[in-house]
């Protein structure tokens, strides 16, 4: 039976990463379609209020870690006074600083909605070449992390040196 609507038989089995947790879902065709197609859910409001909350309650509480990762916060943006609660209900941020004021929450949200937290596209010309080396450093850091995880220390040392070199040129620039 579908875990969302509980009316139609579950025929789609999908895995999603929510807040870093792997979650398995058994859904009917219709509900699966809506999940994979968030625009069909109408707005971000629904993503927050509806299914994600269900998932949060259902899976994150029972994930065995005892850690509840609900997207909840009482934070207020330092620039525009937007509260996180208002954002949750309205689905729209108040200003660019909201991205910092709600940094953790936004990070989780972007992971869920976009599947990524790293921009790979165009950047304003006025930012100059600096952003390229920042992007490179961030890429190398994640390579370094994987190298350490698989205990490839030779590679890790090489990556560390490369990061240092990039960072020092950035400082001199």
């Amino acid at each position: 039976m579908c875990e969302k609507c509980n009316t139609k038989p579950a025929s789609v089995h999908m895995q999603q990463f929510l807040g870093g947790q792997k979650v398995e879902l058994h859904l009917c065709q219709d509900c699966a379609f809506k999940i994979e197609n968030p625009e069909m859910l109408g707005s971000l409001e629904n993503i927050f209020k509806g299914f994600l909350d269900q998932l949060n309650t259902k899976y994150f509480n029972n994930a065995g870690t005892g850690k509840v990762q609900q997207v909840r916060s009482t934070k207020v943006c330092s620039r525009c006074n937007m509260t996180f609660d208002k954002f949750k209900t309205g689905g729209r941020l108040g200003c660019d600083v909201c991205y910092q004021s709600f940094a953790k929450e936004v990070e989780v949200l972007l992971k869920n909605v976009q599947g990524s937290t790293r921009h790979e596209g165009k950047y304003p010309r006025r930012m100059g070449a600096g952003i390229l080396s920042k992007r490179q450093v961030s890429e190398l850091r994640s390579q370094l992390k994987s190298a350490i995880e698989i205990e490839n220390f030779e590679e890790a040392a090489r990556l560390r040196d490369e990061i240092r070199a990039l960072e020092s040129t950035e400082v001199t620039q």
């Binding site: 065709q29 699966a32 379609f33 994979e36 197609n37 968030p38 625009e39 069909m40 109408g42 971000l44 620039r79 525009c80 006074n81 937007m82 309205g90 689905g91 729209r92 941020l93 108040g94 200003c95 660019d96 909201c98 991205y99 936004v106 949200l109 972007l110 909605v113 976009q114 599947g115 990524s116 937290t117 790293r118 921009h119 790979e120 596209g121 165009k122 950047y123 304003p124 010309r125 006025r126 930012m127 952003i131 920042k134 992007r135 961030s138």
Partner: protein, 339 residues
């Protein structure tokens, strides 16, 4: 320059048009939700100035003072979004002479640059929108985050702020009842699919909008390329469905196409939805060469737009009731098809 919907390229292809939208916000103003009316007015004038300083490509329209039918015409042509007409904050619309490029100021984001091209022209549309983005960016500072990219009011647009989309005609998939199935499958590739007039509207004329869902984590080129790949796949499925219909159900297809022709050249009252579905069959009739009739001077897709309520009322120069529109629509279509 002709508007995209009049260009000849579109009448045989599944792809009717390609559209790109870039969302940007100016750093020194809060997003729309937290804007005061004077913030909004200042932002609109600053952004319009940045665009007009770059060259004399656009004319500025006061969207809020336009007649309701004019607003609807812009909606029907996809030059503006329904969201753009919401709320009372000052807004601006900059539009190129051929109407292929438009800039909405104070839609959900401060600046929404949109470029439309006929047929498969997604890369070109992106280039155009990107150039306008560069021009504006020379004069204003956009909200940008090293990790997250361009910052937008809704996190579903963060990153590239790019929504790339195709308007595609899939009559055979729709007829074979394969569309739902296929459409559900392709959403797995990060693609959203909707009817011609977007969320919450009934699909009409077998026309679908197909667009990227995610805006972060991939470059603009990658987003466009993967949409092109998915779309190519959808089109090859449409062509397969057409072959199947032609080999296994040809009489059914011929009947549907000639009935459509009969109704459109004779009806005295017709709704937009019925007319769109019949025009879809006519278009298919020309593609499959089943329909042996003179081709109208206008593109079928252009006719589809001109029978929408806003276009009908604007051309008549008056507001009309639904019944009056159905009568006018039928007369307009008879004139095209009974000659």
């Amino acid at each position: 320059m002709t508007p995209w919907y009049q260009e000849a390229l579109t009448d045989e292809n599944e792809i009717l048009s390609s559209r790109v939208r870039l969302a940007r916000n100016i750093k020194r103003y809060p997003f729309r939700r937290k804007m005061t009316s004077s913030d909004a007015a200042a932002m609109v004038s600053e952004a319009s100035e940045a665009v007009t300083m770059a060259g004399n490509f656009f004319r500025k329209l006061e969207i809020q003072t336009l007649a309701k039918t004019e607003q609807t015409v812009f909606l029907e042509k996809h030059i503006i979004s329904p969201e753009f007409l919401n709320g009372n904050l000052p807004k601006g619309l900059l539009i190129s002479d051929d109407q292929n490029v438009s800039i909405m100021l104070n839609e959900e984001d401060h600046v929404r640059i949109q470029a439309i091209k006929p047929g498969e022209g997604l890369t070109l549309a992106y280039e155009t929108a990107g150039q306008i983005d560069d021009l504006i960016e020379e004069r204003v500072e956009f909200a940008f985050h090293t990790d997250y990219g361009y910052l937008t009011a809704c996190p579903t647009n963060t990153g590239t702020g790019l929504r790339a989309s195709y308007m595609i005609h899939l009559p055979c998939l729709t007829k074979s009842d394969l569309s739902n199935n296929l459409l559900q499958q392709i959403t797995k590739f990060g693609v959203a699919i909707r009817g011609i007039y977007g969320e919450g509207t009934a699909p009409m004329g077998s026309i679908y909008q197909i667009s990227n869902q995610k805006t972060l984590g991939k470059s603009e080129e990658e987003i466009i390329l993967s949409l092109q790949n998915v779309t190519r796949n959808v089109i090859s499925n449409e062509q397969k469905a057409r072959e199947t219909l032609l080999t296994t159900r040809k009489s059914y297809l011929e009947d549907a196409i000639y009935r459509a022709y009969g109704i459109l050249s004779n009806a005295r009252m017709i709704s937009a939805k019925e007319a769109m579905d019949l025009l879809s069959d006519i278009r298919l009739g020309f593609i499959t060469k089943i329909l042996d009739a003179p081709k109208p001077a206008k593109q079928i897709y252009q006719i589809m737009m001109e029978i929408q309520p806003g276009h009908l009322q604007r051309n008549a120069g008056e507001e009309m009731s639904e019944q009056e529109r159905d009568i006018t629509r039928a007369a307009y279509l008879r004139e095209i098809f009974s000659s």
